[in-house]
Symmetry: C2
Subunit: 195 residues, 2 copies
DNA sequence: GACTGAAAAGCACGATCGTGCTATACATGT
DNA sequence: ACATGTATAGCACGATCGTGCTTTTCAGTC
């Protein structure tokens, strides 16, 4: 990897952290330059525009997400175990952001009514994520662990709701019982749909 | 109400809409002045600082929330009916924002890691809201409609999760089935804890 | 209808925004 | 070690940011 690629990756990693704190829009080139110890123009030369930078941040974050959450879950045994691994993987992922929690969650509220390519990219990521949860749930159904009449998209919707709620309880309200709450809610959903 | 108070209220109403779209931080005095047809300085004279404006926006929004969601629900019959009225009231409230959905939800992701008086005010509001849901749930328990061993704070947590998920599904993903999904999830929670 | 206090606007400030152009420093292949 | 291209910094731009001071316009009282 050339020097340029290297620093570009480093910039994107730093930018992910910063954007999770202050938002993709709230983040400024100047702040990011200060955080990376570069000059504004030196940093900016790596990207065509701020919007392009935002999209690359999302792309970079998605790659990390696949590495850290999805791939590990896919090596767990099919069925409820894999679903649980996926869910716990997300919780760990969210906590790995030292501030601001999961960038995707933060970006969603920020962009939910700001049309444009950044929002489009984010919607694609979210749909992929929901679809993956539904697929893993469907595997649990075909393994006979969940009831055959399970609406896997409804389950995906409800599990995703829990990730949003957990971020809220843990980051915003700083509720010490947040992990307990989210796990109990997860168990309720599984129990209700268990064969 | 004096002229000053009147325009101040008008400014806050407009500001609520704008802040729901672009965030409490993303909203600028200049934008707000343009939306209200006032000059920047004429508008700014009503507030001590941008931070004070943000806090007043939250206060103003909370008053509307009490009028439009909480008070109507309290006039519904105690128990599950009241809980459902409260929940449906929130859904209608969220839809009443022509863009951006519920301001509180948007502000939460924005401020969850930005300490300060604005965040503090928002956390208070959120805790009040969760506590109200728990109280209304507890009434359904004491009416004998929900099981006596119901953890009302867990139910409040899960119902609140649904409001977050609904905003996401409806605003971000623009899923036409969002209302159906959220109602089914609500029913599942009630069914699980019904006596 | 004149007076007076409140409300709004005009104007200006230093800072920072996103974005370019130009020059310098560095890394890399020979 | 030198040449070359790439990576970074310097500098500048018009615009807009939050904020304050000063002036003008307006509303309400006698």
């Amino acid at each position: 990897m050339s020097k340029g690629q290297e620093t570009r990756e480093a910039i994107l990693t730093e930018a992910t952290t910063l954007a999770a704190k202050v938002g993709l829009t709230g983040m400024t080139i100047g702040q990011l330059a200060a955080h990376t110890g570069m000059s504004k123009s030196g940093l900016y030369a790596h990207f065509a525009s701020k919007e392009a930078l935002q999209i690359q941040i999302l792309r970079h974050t998605r790659e990390r997400f696949v590495d850290r959450v999805i791939r590990p879950a896919l090596s767990a045994p099919r069925g409820i175990a894999r679903l649980r691994t996926l869910f716990d993987g997300w919780l760990a992922w969210s906590e790995a952001f030292e501030d601001g929690g999961c960038l995707f969650v933060a970006a969603c509220s920020e962009l939910d009514d700001r049309p444009g390519p950044v929002r489009d990219a984010l919607v694609r990521d979210e749909l992929d994520w929901l679809e993956l949860i539904a697929t893993v749930t469907a595997a649990a159904v075909s393994e006979g662990q969940l009831r055959a009449d399970t609406d896997v998209h409804q389950v995906a919707y409800e599990l995703h709701a829990l990730t949003l709620a957990h971020q809220h309880a843990s980051r915003m309200l700083q509720d010490p019982r947040a992990p307990e709450r989210v796990h109990r809610a997860f168990d309720s959903i599984i129990a209700r749909t268990s064969a």
